[in-house]
C-alpha cells in the first residue's frame, strides 16, 4: 500500500494543534495554546485564539511536512465533542484545506482519537479504556463495531471538577496539576462524598463538598482527599468493567491521565488482578493533533471520508455514535 500522509487538526478546547503523520512517523507537529489570564476556559475566547492562530499554524505544519516530502492524502479534523465555537473554527480551516488541496476531508471523534493514539503509542489492541479529561470521563471498551461505554460521568468531567475546585481555592487554570502537587504534603483525609451509581459516577457534589471543606481543613488535606475519593471512583468502575468482560489490559488516556497518583492507583488495581496498565507519555495524553491525524489515517485506510455538506460540527458527538470499521 502507498504510504499516505494525513494532516490532523485538533482544537476542541484549549490546545490548538496540527500534525502530519504516516503509519510510522510523526512528520510535523505545531501547537498553540489558549491559557486564560484568570478564570476558566471561555469558549468564545478560545475560539478567537484559535481563529487568530490557525493560519500561521497551518502554514508552519505544511512547511515542516513539505521539508519531509509529505504529500498529503487527506485532512482530518476534530468534529466533536467540544466547544461549539472552537469546533467551527477548526472545521472551517479543514474544509478550506480539503477544497484547495483537493484531498478528502475526514471528521474524527475526539474521544476515539484519544483511544486510537493511545493504542498506537502503547502497542495494545483490545483494552478497557479509562478516558479522563476536562470535559469527558468514561470507561469504554470495543465490542462488535463500536467503542461501548460502560460507565461515564453523570455531570462534569473529572478534569473540570479539579479545575473548578482549583479556581475556588485560588489556583490559576488549570488547577489539576496544582491539586496534585499540594496533595503530596497532606497530613490527613477529610471525608468527601463517594458517588458511584451502577457503573456511572458523578463529580459535581464532590466538588462542592471539597470547596466547603476548605473552611475547616488545609488546602493540602482537601486536595489529597479530593484526589483519593474521585480517583477511587474511577478505578472502581474500571475494575468492574475488567471483571465483567474478562479483559486483561487497561489503557489510560486523556489529560488527567498525566496525574501520577491516578496512574499509581490504576497500576495497583491491575497488578492485584493480574492485568496490565498501559499509559502513553504525557504529550499524547492531552489534546494533540497527532491523535486526530492518526485516527484520520485509520479512517482513510478504511474508506471513511466526509463530504463537505455533511461536515457540520458535532459538539455532543458521542464515541458510541461512531461505527468503528477500522478495528
Amino acid at each position: 500500500m502507498k504510504n499516505r500522509f494525513v494532516l490532523g487538526i485538533e482544537g476542541t478546547a484549549w490546545n490548538l494543534s496540527a500534525a502530519i503523520i504516516d503509519r510510522t512517523n510523526i512528520v510535523a507537529e505545531v501547537e498553540s495554546q489558549y491559557l486564560p489570564q484568570k478564570g476558566g476556559l471561555h469558549p468564545r475566547m478560545a475560539a478567537q485564539h484559535h481563529a487568530s492562530e490557525i493560519g500561521d499554524l497551518i502554514r508552519k505544519v505544511l512547511a515542516e511536512g513539505g521539508e519531509f516530502g509529505a504529500d498529503l492524502s487527506a485532512v482530518a479534523f476534530s468534529q466533536g465533542p467540544g466547544f461549539g465555537p472552537c469546533l467551527r473554527t477548526i472545521a472551517t480551516a479543514a474544509r478550506a484545506l480539503s477544497l484547495s488541496l483537493e484531498i478528502p476531508l475526514i471528521g474524527v471523534n475526539h474521544c476515539i482519537a484519544h483511544i486510537e493514539v493511545g493504542k498506537r503509542i502503547c502497542n495494545v489492541t483490545d483494552p478497557v479504556i479509562l478516558y479522563v479529561s476536562g470535559g469527558n470521563s468514561q470507561v469504554l471498551s470495543y465490542r462488535a463495531g463500536k467503542y461501548r461505554i460502560f460507565g461515564e460521568t453523570l455531570d462534569i468531567g473529572i478534569g473540570n471538577a479539579l479545575d473548578k475546585f482549583g479556581r475556588y481555592a485560588g489556583f490559576q487554570h488549570p488547577g489539576g496539576p496544582k491539586v496534585e502537587q499540594l496533595a503530596k504534603n497532606a497530613k490527613k483525609y477529610v471525608p468527601l462524598p463517594y458517588v458511584v451509581k451502577g457503573m456511572d459516577f458523578s463529580f459535581s457534589g464532590l466538588t462542592t463538598a471539597a470547596k466547603d471543606a476548605l473552611e475547616y481543613a488545609s488546602q493540602e488535606d482537601v486536595c489529597h482527599s479530593f484526589q483519593e475519593t474521585a480517583f477511587a471512583m474511577l478505578v472502581e468502575v474500571t475494575e468492574r468493567a475488567l471483571a465483567h468482560i474478562e479483559k486483561d489490559d487497561v489503557l489510560l488516556v486523556g489529560g488527567v491521565g498525566a496525574n501520577e497518583r491516578l496512574k499509581e492507583m490504576l497500576g495497583i488495581m491491575c497488578k492485584d488482578r493480574g492485568a496490565r496498565l498501559y499509559a502513553p507519555e504525557k504529550k499524547f495524553m492531552r489534546d494533540n493533533g497527532v491523535m486526530i491525524a492518526h485516527t484520520g489515517l485509520l479512517m482513510l485506510e478504511s474508506g471513511v471520508t466526509l463530504p463537505i455538506k455533511d461536515s457540520a460540527v458535532r459538539p455532543n458527538y458521542r464515541p458510541d455514535d461512531v461505527d468503528v470499521v477500522w478495528v
Binding site: 460502560f150 471525608p191 451509581k197 451502577g198 483519593e228 477511587a232 468492574r240 471483571a243 468482560i245 458510541d320
Partner: protein, 195 residues
C-alpha cells in the same frame, strides 16, 4: 466453605447452610476511603434487604452484620434468568411494583438477582439499592431490567408486556414510570446498546 461468586467488590461463600457475603479491601485506595466504602455499602445493603422484607418483598433473612460482612439465609432455587417465562415475568412486575410502592429502588434489577425458591420469587443483592420516590430513579430501575430481558431472553416484547401488567397491578404510579422508561430509552446515552 464453598466459593459461590467473586465479583470486583465482594466474595460470596456458602458456609454452614448460610451465605456469607464479604466486601474485600482494595489496596489501590487509601485505608480511610476503603473502609468507609465497604462499611457504608455493607450497612446499606443489610438495611435495604430488611426494609424490603418489611414491605412484603421476599428477601433472604439476615442473621448477622459486621463491618464488612453479611451472613444471610441460603436460598435453594434457581436464578430467574434460567427459568424465566411470561407468567413469572408478570410476578416480577408485581414484585417490583411493591418494591417501588415502598419507596425502594433496587439499583441493579437483573434476572440474575432474582431467585425462585419454593414457589416464591426472592430479590437479592441490594448493594446498590436506595430510597427514592422519583420517577427518574424508578424508570431507570425498570429500564435496566428491560435491558436484561432484551439481551438475555427471547420474546422480550411478551416478557415486557407481562411485566407491565403485573407492575400496574401493585403500583399506582406505574403508568407514569412506563412512560418514563420509553423516554429513557430514546435518550442519547441509552440509544446504543451498553455492555
Amino acid at each position: 466453605m464453598n466459593l459461590k461468586t467473586s465479583g470486583a467488590e465482594a466474595i460470596v461463600r456458602s458456609c454452614d447452610g448460610h451465605i456469607l457475603k464479604q466486601r474485600i479491601p482494595k489496596r489501590y485506595r487509601i485505608k480511610e476511603v476503603d473502609e468507609q466504602i465497604r462499611r457504608d455499602r455493607t450497612k446499606s445493603e443489610a438495611k435495604m434487604i430488611s426494609e424490603a422484607r418489611r414491605s412484603g418483598i421476599p428477601t433472604p433473612v439476615i442473621y448477622d452484620v459486621t463491618d464488612y460482612d453479611i451472613r444471610m439465609e441460603y436460598l435453594e432455587g434457581a436464578q430467574l434468568k434460567h427459568v424465566l417465562d411470561v407468567d413469572l415475568c408478570k410476578r416480577i412486575g408485581e414484585l417490583v411494583g411493591r418494591l417501588h410502592t415502598s419507596g425502594i429502588v433496587h439499583g441493579d434489577l437483573t434476572t440474575s438477582n432474582m431467585i425462585l425458591s419454593q414457589g416464591k420469587i426472592y430479590l437479592i443483592d441490594f448493594g446498590l439499592a436506595y430510597f427514592d420516590r422519583n420517577t427518574e430513579a424508578r424508570g431507570v430501575d425498570v429500564h435496566v431490567l428491560f435491558q436484561t430481558f432484551e439481551s438475555t431472553h427471547e420474546e422480550h416484547d411478551a416478557l415486557i408486556n407481562a411485566f407491565i401488567e403485573g407492575y400496574e397491578k401493585t403500583f399506582d404510579g406505574a403508568k407514569e414510570i412506563v412512560q418514563r422508561v420509553k423516554a429513557i430509552e430514546s435518550r442519547g446515552r441509552y440509544r446504543t446498546e451498553r455492555l
